[in-house]
């Protein structure tokens, strides 16, 4: 009871605390100087039509590298946390499970039909990240959802962890390597101008941005797949893996 009272007080106080933010802060009238600079110089400087993308991949590239890293850590962390050792007792341990039923014909065929389309869509999204809304993260999520579809629809689907982690590691490594190339060939770490900027508004433009975004897309896709795969693993499958 007393805790409830304190909780009410706390939430009320919190509301009062953020009230000045809500009341006194109006939306921007004009773009902030930095944003204006991005809008004015961005297209010519970096060659990407999507300004959000140039902010994400180059201007604030370090954030994005960090973001990819966060996802990477989360993947590793989930796997690390859920690794099994002998003392672990699962609630259902010792109880024989009935073998799950295979997916119906309709579900199986439908998922197989959708899967390549989803993959293609994902790749499309991250390849065009510098031109249209979307990018590596969005594309990666679509790829992961394609994998999720397989996992959900097909009981016997077996994730090839080696390939997944190979792709994940390589894409991450090349991302960092391209960053370092920026340091050597261009003005600084993660500078996209190591490649020619190309013709504005076309697929092969914006220097290294499409490459970086592709790597991010691959990395995010494989990382999320990995998380999903780890969380999906049933007892039996985990034992098989080991």
């Amino acid at each position: 009871m007393i805790k409830k009272f304190f909780t009410i007080i706390t939430v009320l106080l919190f509301a009062l605390m953020v009230l000045p933010l809500l009341r006194q802060i109006a939306p921007f009238e004009e773009l902030a100087p930095v944003a204006a600079a991005y809008a004015e110089q961005g297209p010519d400087q970096l060659g990407a039509a999507n300004l959000v993308t140039s902010v994400i991949v180059t201007y604030r590239g370090l954030d994005t590298l960090g973001e990819v890293t966060v996802l990477f850590i989360a993947t590793a962390g989930v796997g690390f946390l859920l690794r099994r050792d002998e003392e672990d007792q699962l609630p259902g341990d010792g109880v024989p499970r009935e073998t799950p039923r295979e997916a119906s014909e309709l579900l199986g065929s439908g998922s197989m039909l959708l899967f390549p389309l989803l993959m293609l869509f994902g790749v499309y999204i991250f390849l065009h990240g510098h031109l249209t809304p979307g990018g590596g993260f969005q594309g990666g999520v679509v790829i992961a959802s394609a994998m999720l579809l397989l996992m959900l629809a097909r009981v016997s689907f077996h994730l090839n962890h080696l390939i997944i982690s190979l792709v994940e590691s390589l894409s991450g490594f090349f991302y960092v390597a391209i960053g370092v190339l920026g340091l050597i060939l261009a003005a600084g770490f993660l500078d996209n101008r190591i490649l020619p900027l190309g013709e504005f508004g076309t697929l092969l433009s914006a220097g290294a941005i499409p490459i970086i975004y592709s790597l991010v897309g691959l990395k995010v896709g494989t990382e999320l797949t990995n998380v999903l795969g780890t969380m999906r693993l049933t007892r039996t499958q985990q034992e098989e893996d080991v």
Binding site: K4, T7, T10, V11, F14, A15, V18, L21, L22, R23, I25, A26, P27, F28, E29, E30, L31, A32, V34, A35, A36, Y38, A39, E40, G42, P43, A49, N50, L51, V52, S54, V55, I56, R60, D63, T64, G66, E67, V70, L71, I73, A74, G77, V78, L81, L82, D88, Q89, L90, P91, L131, T132, P133, F137, F200, G201, V227, M231
Partner: protein, 117 residues
């Protein structure tokens, strides 16, 4: 004050309430997710300028006058990062919940206080 930021803060408060009152660990995590969503809304609302379009140079936006036609791209970039990080934290929280459930077969947060004082 904008409607979006108002809704954002309202969500934050709802999430806080959920996080502080629900006993089930999964619900606490959901509370967190709601807070996260609220924050993302608030962030987006900061970057929004009335009457402007997305910060992509295409047929709708003139490259030379982009600065007066587009909304702020920075909060969009930030919110993307924030979403990914929120996702990562949620994933870890859920994993922790799985582990805790394995240890004690309970999802009630009140059952996990053997460490204190």
């Amino acid at each position: 004050m904008s409607l979006v930021s108002f809704i954002g803060f309202a969500l934050i408060l709802v999430g806080l309430w959920g996080m502080l009152t629900r006993k089930n660990i999964i619900r606490i995590i959901i509370g967190f997710s709601i807070i996260d969503t609220g924050i993302h809304l608030v962030m987006v609302s900061i970057g929004y300028l009335p009457g402007r379009t997305a910060p992509i140079i295409n047929s709708a936006v003139d490259k030379a006058q982009a600065a007066s036609q587009i909304v702020d791209p920075i909060p969009s970039a930030l919110v993307l990062t924030a979403i990914v990080i929120g996702l990562a934290i949620t994933a870890l929280m859920l994993t922790y919940a799985v582990r805790m459930y394995r240890e004690r077969t309970s999802l009630n947060i009140d059952d996990y206080k053997e460490l204190k004082w």
